[in-house]
Amino acid sequence: MADWFTLAAVFLLLSIAVALVRCWRGPGPVERIMAAQLAGTGVIGVAVVLGAARRDAAMLDAALIGTLLAAVAVTAFARSAARPGDRPDGSG
C-alpha cells in the first residue's frame, strides 16, 4: 500500500517538471511565478504523500512550510513589480 504513495510522489515530481517547462517557455514574468507556485503545490503534494507512505508526521510540517513559502513568494513578486501610485492611499 505504501508503494502506491511512493508512485504518487513520482507522478507529482512529473508535475513539477511541467512547471519547469512553463517557466522556460513562459512569455511574461507572471507565467514564471505561476510555475513557481505550481512547483510549490507539487512540493506540498510530495511531502504529504511521502509522509503518508512512511507515516512520518515531520513531512507534514515540511508541507505546511511549503504552503507558506509559496504564498510569500507570490506576494513578494506582486509587491516588487507594483508600479508607483498603485496603493489606494496614494503612498505606494
Binding site: P27, G28, V30, V48, A71, V74
Partner: protein
C-alpha cells in the same frame, strides 16, 4: 485489499488525475487568465483529494487534522495568489487571446 484501501487508491488516483489536468492546463492554455484558472483550481482539488487519501491511509485523527490544515492553508494561499497574479498580469497589459473577438 479492504474497503478503505480501495477508497484510498480511488482518492489517490482522482487526486493525481486533477493534479495532471492542472499541470497540463498550465502548459496548454492560450492566455494568462486561463492558465491561472487551471493552476489554482485543478491543482488544489488534486491536493485535497491526495490529502484525503493520505489522511485515510494514515488512520490517526490528529494527523488527519494536520493534513486538513495543510490543505486549508494551500487553498487560502491559492485564492490570494491568483488574485495578485491576475492583477499583475492585467497591469503588465498581457493580451487575452479573446481580444478583438466580437461577442
Amino acid at each position: 485489499m479492504s474497503w478503505t484501501d480501495l477508497a484510498v487508491l480511488a482518492l489517490l488516483g482522482a487526486g493525481l488525475a486533477f493534479y495532471g489536468a492542472g499541470s497540463l492546463g498550465l502548459l496548454r492554455f492560450p492566455d494568462t487568465a486561463s492558465r491561472l484558472h487551471a493552476l489554482t483550481k485543478a491543482d488544489n482539488l488534486g491536493l485535497g483529494l491526495v490529502a484525503l487519501a493520505a489522511a485515510l491511509h494514515w488512520g490517526s485523527l490528529a494527523v488527519a487534522a494536520k493534513i486538513a490544515l495543510v490543505w486549508l492553508f494551500a487553498v487560502i494561499a491559492a485564492g490570494i495568489t491568483s488574485q495578485l497574479l491576475a492583477r499583475q498580469a492585467r497591469l503588465d497589459g498581457t493580451r487575452s487571446h479573446r481580444d478583438g473577438v466580437q461577442p
